[in-house]
């Protein structure tokens, strides 16, 4: 197997909490608390979890949109976490981001043409006469926008079209990696599918590596080859998409899947919904040992005292859990998994 495109090792991001006249640090929000994973060439890796689990922060650290507290991110073997100046700019050409909100991520005063062409301006590319306009119009055509709308402003487009503008901008520099942070959650159902299909087609045609962040587990399953589940700044389970959805091992993953409303009344009726009590604990004061033990129905004494290692479990999932779910427990809570077991 070829070298992974991205290698993340022990990545940590703590946001200091300051208080008092001297702004002394009294604690830290442990947004990302030591995550390690690889992203392989050409794959789609999903990052899922509840709000505040650190999935967006992890993505921003990979793109170096913020500086990590510690740890390493290697892109094609070169360190990103500490890169500076020209080297960082050069690296960033290879990685782009698509944002959640197509209304706030586009400058309302700029034409669509200059928004999509901005990466060229930043990197001083396509400077020839009319070259940039041609390239931008080609991109607009690729993502299904009318190239004649080059001179229009973002407000003249619907939500779905704006998200296409965001995709076109991300494609401009022919990046190797695209990070899409909740790219469809602001869109209507019928428009969501258009954007998802577009992303998938582009990825297949161009062999782009995609990190796909979403809270909607059915969308993630549709898009991703592998999925990492995050909780309180940790990766608690990582598996091939098929394995994860057929037999989640970490009770947290099981609860997430059980909570997804199934668009099928018969399956819904057969389901014993696993409801997690309470809220996610504060990342400023996370539980000791297994971060999930305060809400876990299988938790025992050892979960409060010993941090479980992220290691292979039955079926090939990698999970951090002392008492992984059995197949029987999975089927009871997630009847849709029955259709997936091979």
């Amino acid at each position: 197997m070829s070298e992974p495109l991205v290698q993340v090792r022990d990545l940590v991001k703590h946001f200091p909490i300051r208080q008092g006249l001297l702004q002394r640090q009294v604690g830290a929000v442990r947004a990302v608390d030591g995550v390690s994973f690889d992203v392989n060439q050409g794959e789609t890796l999903g990052l899922v979890g509840e709000s505040g689990c650190g999935k967006s922060t992890t993505a921003r650290l990979i793109l170096r949109l913020m500086d990590p507290t510690s740890g390493s991110v290697k892109f094609e073997g070169r360190e990103i976490a500490t890169a500076k100046g020209a080297e960082l700019k050069e690296q960033r050409r290879n990685m782009q981001m698509i944002f959640q909100d197509p209304f706030s991520s586009l400058n309302p005063r700029k034409t669509v043409g200059s928004i999509i062409g901005e990466p060229y301006a930043i990197h001083n590319l396509k400077t020839g006469d009319g070259e940039r306009k041609r390239a931008v119009q080609e991109l607009m055509d690729t993502v299904g926008l009318n190239p004649e709308h080059y001179n229009r402003y973002p407000h003249e487009f619907s939500g779905g079209q704006r998200q296409r503008i965001g995709v076109a901008r991300a494609l401009a520099l022919q990046p190797k990696l695209i990070v899409a942070d909740e790219p469809v959650s602001a869109l209507d159902v019928s428009i969501q599918a258009q954007v998802l299909n577009l992303l998938r087609d582009l990825q297949r045609e161009r062999g782009i590596t995609l990190i796909f962040i979403a809270h909607d587990l059915s969308v993630v399953r549709h898009m991703c080859d592998r999925v990492a589940v995050m909780y309180l700044g940790h990766i608690v389970e990582l598996a091939e998409s098929d394995d994860l959805y057929a037999h989640p091992r970490m009770p947290y993953t099981g609860a997430l899947m059980s909570a997804v409303p199934v668009a099928d009344p018969r399956l819904a009726a057969a389901k014993k919904r696993q409801v997690l009590a309470g809220d996610v604990p504060s990342p400023a004061n996370p539980p000791q040992a297994c971060p999930f033990h305060t809400r876990c129905w299988k938790a025992q004494e050892i979960c409060r005292t010993e941090t479980p290692a992220l290691e292979p479990k039955e079926g090939g999932n990698i999970a951090a859990c002392h008492f992984p779910l059995t197949d029987e427990e999975v089927l009871e809570r997630i009847p849709s998994a029955r259709n997936l077991t091979r």
């Binding site: 209507d188 159902v189 299909n197 809270h215 009344p265």
Partner: protein, 359 residues
């Protein structure tokens, strides 16, 4: 569907809500009818701009814009609500009929403690002392699963997490044991785990108090889990109405097909193709001629651009209605093909080649 001699709890008949604007008449709701019985849940599904929220706000007497033109009938327990005096409406709203909204921050007052706000809601409708109302507030906060309800009652909304605020709002809505609960996107802003808690809560309360529920959402999963009956709205109208199993297993409107094939499923084989609906929802000022869905419908024929379909029973089944000009046999075949993976563009040809119905 109500049997003779039995009054449904809520009856909406030919409800229209138009707004006069400088750009023209916005037909937000254009003649919808439905009924909801005690203990039943009706799911209203649609995209943004389909009129699903405006119709329920109007039922609650909350469409108060000066430019609004409202007509039709809304009967609650046999009493007409449209045109009732503000005072009469206020007696019912928050008492017999309660509503929960998508955004709990905008329905809880930021300056007042949560407990005090529930006390106010109780005292507005019940002749009880402040102490009794406060006990009720604490009881309700506990009932919706907020830990340490007595302390929570003394908190301000900003001290709560999103899920807790949503639960506090539900506690307030249910404090007077409403007979009808209207939930407008009750879980859209929440994480799935919190969403599951809220859905579970609404179901439990419904079982306990026989409350009727109208749930308005764009999420087909939510209605599949909650609703007994489903009305699919498009451009201000109901285009399909049936019990939940039928809507998912044997839908007859191409728009419903489009919604169902646009969502990825947790249990479908990976690599399934999503079939999006082309185009986007129409402007409610310049509605397309004929069938409002025709510009986005893959099975459109010439006549569909002229004729406006009525919501009619399918094959004489009174409880499955659809507004579509294709004949039922063709629709059943198309839905079968779609499920077998035939792309709508491929299926389209045969429909076009069928002879146009005469008359």
């Amino acid at each position: 569907m109500s049997a003779a001699g039995h009054t449904p709890l809520l009856e909406v008949e030919d409800l229209r809500v138009y707004f006069e604007t400088d750009d023209g008449l916005v037909k937000a709701v254009d003649g919808i009818s439905y009924t909801v019985d005690r203990g039943q849940t009706l799911g209203i599904v649609g995209e943004s701009g389909s009129g699903k929220s405006v119709s329920s706000l109007t039922v609650m007497g909350l469409t108060r814009a000066r430019n609004a033109r409202i007509s039709g009938t809304v009967r609650f327990d046999g009493n007409e609500l449209l045109g009732a005096s503000d005072e009469d409406i206020r007696k019912i709203r928050g008492d017999d009929i309660a509503m929960i909204f998508q955004d709990p921050l905008s329905s809880l007052h930021p300056f007042y403690k949560v407990g005090g706000q529930i006390v106010e809601a109780v005292q507005a409708h019940r002749d009880v002392s402040k102490a009794q109302a406060y006990d009720r507030a604490v009881e309700m906060l506990g009932l919706v699963g907020i830990p340490e309800p007595r302390r929570a009652a003394e908190s301000y909304p900003h001290e709560f997490s999103g899920g807790m605020r949503q639960r506090a709002m539900i506690a307030m809505a249910l404090a007077n044991d409403p007979r009808l609960l209207i939930a407008d996107e009750p879980t859209t802003a929440l994480d799935v785990t919190v969403q599951a808690q809220i859905l579970e809560l609404i179901e439990r309360l419904q079982d306990e108090f026989d409350t009727a529920v109208v749930v308005i959402t764009h999420d087909l999963g939510v209605v599949a889990e909650m609703a007994d009956e489903i009305a699919v709205m498009y451009a201000g109208r109901i285009v399909e109405h049936a019990d939940a199993d039928t809507v998912f297993a044997a839908p007859e409107h191409p728009y419903t097909w489009g919604l169902l094939s646009s969502i990825p499923r947790l249990d479908a084989p990976r690599g399934e193709e999503l079939v999006p609906i082309g185009g986007r929802p129409p402007s409610l000022i310049n509605l397309p001629s004929g069938c409002h869905f025709h510009p986005r419908c893959p099975y459109v024929r010439e006549a569909h651009r002229r004729v406006d379909p009525a919501l009619e029973p399918v094959d004489g089944q009174a409880d499955h209605q659809v507004a579509c000009l294709l004949d039922s046999g063709t629709r059943k075949r198309l839905w079968g093909e779609l499920q077998a993976g035939v792309a709508p563009e491929a299926a389209r040809k045969d429909v076009i080649e069928e002879p146009e119905p005469t008359g």
